[in-house]
């Protein structure tokens, strides 16, 4: 007979083979004889790979040497990292003048500074910050990287970019620490928090104008040495090409995708054939086409340099791939959203811009990161047509007289660089995917 005494029995601890390490081992590695064999085989493979990598790449490797012969003299069966180390600056910056490297670094730092608010909490107007990055940063970067005389247009854009950067940064700082926005803070400081709307707007515009004029006057005194694009190279060039490629791919891809889904037959056919044309041929043929046929397309006397040709080719190519990503995102939006937008009286652009695109873009962010990884890897193809991107630099180490024949080490180093960048980005896109779908999975 059961005795009910109202007392709870104490919770028993989980069985030992569920919690202990041995239990885990048994369950995950040695559950059957086939699994045991697989585990042992895997252990053997890991042991072989790690040991050979360790002895070749670290234990027997040479880190400091003048040339490859010296490497061999020190250690016969080890990696010769000395060549990679001596070439390190070339790998990252190409033949960019060594005194001017700070400009490349500054350009990179400014980009980080500009984009950092996008990841900070409590910052408002992130869309504006993102758009200003896309539309103003390129001018600042172009001026920093190539330098030389700047025309009046470039001066205006550069000044605008600097004002915008300062504003963004202040705005972000105020947002993070004071949970407010830059315009509100400015108005409060000036004692106009209670003033009428038009008064406030005029005040802000005046401040903006003053800042712009001040920066404009300031930047007129700056001159930097002109660095032709032929001196650009290495990782820097790879990032420039893929960066321009991805930023222009998004608007281009959106337009092409909208065209492909358009109800107007002429627009649909044109967009579809354009997308399919570029998606069905390899990138290298597009690059060859750019270098052999673009000069023929241009009016006589108008010469595009090779970098511009390559960038145009990469932009066209990546826009067509992005178009398919955008199309997939658009297809994921339920029809009801389109109908609802029409019902409340929005036209085509209102429906797309205010209702459909924002939702679709949110869905697409992981895929966009994926495309960027793909584009970054594909950019190495420009080394085939004679630009010295990171792969071109890595390969030219083996042509350098002291390091003749040093093939493997630079390539492995390059693989590590790409792996780190791409791996972090793909993990981040996975993280975003989970974070963005959190709302949908409630």
């Amino acid at each position: 007979m059961a005795i009910a005494n109202g007392e709870k029995t104490a919770a028993r601890s989980a069985p030992l083979n569920e919690t202990s390490f041995i239990g885990w081992l048994h369950k995950n590695l040695f559950s059957s004889w086939i699994n045991t064999i697989l585990t042992l085989a895997s252990l053997y493979i890991i042991y072989m790979v790690v040991m050979s990598m360790w002895t070749w790449g670290i234990a027997n490797a040479v880190w400091i040497a003048e040339n490859r012969r010296e490497c061999f003299a020190i250690s016969k069966d080890g990696a010769c990292w000395a060549g990679v180390i001596i070439w390190l600056e070339n790998i990252f910056y190409g033949r960019y003048p060594r005194d001017e490297l700070w400009r490349v670094n500054l350009g990179g730092l400014l980009l980080i500074l500009w984009m950092a608010p996008l990841w900070l909490p409590r910052v408002r107007d992130k869309i504006f910050i993102g758009l200003s990055t896309v539309f103003l940063y390129p001018f600042l970067a172009a001026y920093l990287f190539s330098g030389g005389d700047k025309g009046i247009f470039m001066q205006i854009m550069v000044s605008g970019a600097i004002v915008c950067l300062i504003g963004n940064t202040l705005h972000a700082a105020i947002g993070v620490f004071g949970d407010s926005s830059l315009p509100a803070t400015l108005l409060r400081v000036l004692g106009k928090a209670e003033a009428s709307d038009s008064n406030q707007r005029n005040t802000l515009l005046t401040i903006l104008a003053i800042a712009f004029v001040a920066v404009f006057l300031l930047q007129m005194g700056w001159t930097t040495k002109f660095v032709p694009w032929t001196k650009w190279g290495g990782m820097f060039l790879t990032l420039v090409i893929s960066g321009i490629g991805i930023t222009s791919a998004l608007p281009g891809g959106i337009i092409l995708a909208l065209g492909r889904r358009s109800k107007l037959p002429v627009i649909r056919v044109l967009s579809t054939s354009f997308i399919e044309l570029f998606r069905s041929v390899p990138l290298i043929t597009v690059l060859f086409m750019a270098t052999t046929m673009f000069p023929l397309f241009m009016p006589e006397g108008f010469v595009l340099n090779k970098l511009v040709q390559v960038i145009i080719a990469v932009c066209l190519f990546s826009a067509c791939y992005m178009a398919e990503t955008v199309r997939a995102g658009l297809q994921a939006i339920p029809k009801g959203q389109y109908e609802a937008a029409h019902t409340i009286g929005l036209g085509y652009w209102g429906m797309m811009g205010l209702i459909v695109m924002p939702q679709a873009l949110k869905h697409m962010i992981p895929n966009i990161v994926g495309s960027f990884i793909g584009l970054l890897k594909d950019t190495t193809l420009v080394s085939i047509i004679g630009l010295f991107d990171i792969l071109g630099m890595l390969r030219s180490i083996s042509q350098d007289v002291p390091w003749r024949g040093l093939h493997k080490e630079p390539l492995i180093f390059g693989a590590m660089v790409f792996f780190i960048i791409c791996f972090i980005m793909s993990k981040y896109s996975r993280h975003l995917e989970v974070k963005l779908s959190a709302g949908a999975n409630r």
């Binding site: 697989l38 390899p282 043929t285 009016p299 190495t380 390539l411 791996f423």
Partner: protein
């Protein structure tokens, strides 16, 4: 009680549409299309006139006449007869296309097999094996393919031993040799009566089809199973084997032999071909593995449980229930990966394997200089391949699509 409405509905007055030319939808759609067509048409016309003008100014030749002109350069790897100074540019184009197709075809097969293995290993219950497969996938997917191809070429196949110290892959049987000039292997030469063996094989295949049908019918009628797989395998091996032996083994082997400084006879594959094949297979296997994994995961777990509940063994459950359903999710990305294999085989140009890009778009273009025609032909070739593959994919998708009710 229902009220029957006998009276006619009052005739509605159609509201008078105010016809506004610029805000009418039909007018607008025509206008937009016309505008787009004009802009695109003008752009195309502009580019064409520029090109024509530039070609004329530079005195460049045009037209497809060059296809019948003789080409003066040689290629190290060809599947059809060609001799420099005798063969034409048309022949060069054919050689390039065939080389591309050969390496892509082999890479597709190898990467699909490897991809399925890695994809299934990714889902292994064995923690270590799953991690190892994951490491493989991450490693190959996060480094550029071009870098991998160059690595295999300069880091592996170019530092193989010289011809004199070739590695005998067949372990002393002297059938296949590997050295820094490539892979040399024996090649079968069919004799007079070999066609009979092939006929026997075809008959065996037909017999297997009928056997399968019969076994299926019998199982439906009586519930008795027939070991179809074992029987078919036996049929496929035994029948051609007997015919082959009875006709007196009519298959000779052309073996590579060392003569002077190089191997003569057999089939030879250059190092660039091997590097490209291996790099493509390994790279795309990593991508395919992810599709395979996603496809298997997309099958509802209830399906596995149901299959086990009706008494299928795990292997049969996988083969009869899971895989057929997973294929619906695996095949479309798999075919687009195959398309990528074909496109990425164009990276051969970086290591000097004579595919269509390297041979026709680079070497031939530099020699003869018909830029527009040659670029156009090469792109048309790739487009033809891509469109045919995606056509096949569309047919498949239509066939396996879930019929929604």
């Amino acid at each position: 009680m229902a009220i029957r409405d006998t009276g006619k509905a009052p005739t509605r007055v159609k509201p008078k549409e105010r016809f506004d030319f610029f805000h009418d939808e039909r007018v607008r759609s025509v206008l937009y299309q016309l505008l787009t067509a004009c802009v695109v048409g003008w752009l195309v016309w502009y580019l064409i006139t520029n090109t024509a003008h530039n070609l004329e100014v530079r005195g460049m030749n045009t037209g497809f006449g060059f296809l019948t002109a003789t080409a003066g350069f040689d290629t190290d790897f060809k599947l059809v007869e060609y001799e420099p100074g005798v063969g034409t540019y048309g022949r060069i184009f054919l050689i390039g296309c065939l080389n591309t197709l050969l390496v892509s075809f082999l890479a597709v097969i190898a990467s699909t097999i490897l991809g399925f293995i890695i994809g299934i290993l990714r889902l292994s219950s064995n923690w270590l094996v799953a991690r190892l497969a994951l490491a493989y996938v991450e490693l190959v997917r996060n480094t550029p393919l071009l870098l991998q191809i160059i690595f295999w070429y300069v880091g592996v196949f170019s530092i193989l031993p010289r011809v004199k110290n070739s590695i005998d892959l067949s372990g002393g049987a002297e059938v296949a040799f590997l050295n820094n000039r490539g892979l040399y292997m024996g090649w079968p030469i069919p004799g007079d009566l070999f066609w009979m063996t092939i006929t026997a094989f075809v008959i065996a295949v037909i017999a297997v089809v009928f056997l399968k049908r019969w076994a299926h019918k019998r199982q439906d009628n009586t519930g008795q199973q027939f070991p179809t797989f074992t029987a078919s395998l036996a049929l496929l091996i035994v029948l051609p084997g007997i015919v082959y032996l009875m006709t007196g083994s009519p298959l000779g082997w052309d073996l590579p032999t060392l003569q002077g400084f190089n191997f003569v006879g057999g089939a030879a594959l250059p190092p660039a071909f091997l590097a490209l094949l291996i790099a493509l297979s390994i790279y795309h296997a990593g991508h395919l593995a992810e599709s395979v994994r996603a496809g298997i995961l997309s099958v509802n777990k209830g399906q596995t449980e149901a299959a086990l509940a009706i008494g299928l063994r795990p292997g049969r459950a996988m083969a009869l229930i899971i895989i057929p359903q997973a294929m619906r999710a695996i095949v479309p990305p798999m075919i687009s990966q195959w398309m990528n294999v074909v496109k990425n085989s164009s990276l051969a140009v970086a290591i000097g394997y004579s595919d269509v890009v390297a041979l026709f778009m680079q070497t031939a273009l530099n020699q003869a200089g018909y830029a527009v025609e040659m670029v156009g032909m090469t792109m048309a070739f790739y487009m033809f391949i891509s469109l045919s593959i995606s056509g096949v994919l569309n047919i498949y998708n239509k066939r396996v699509q879930l019929v929604e009710r």
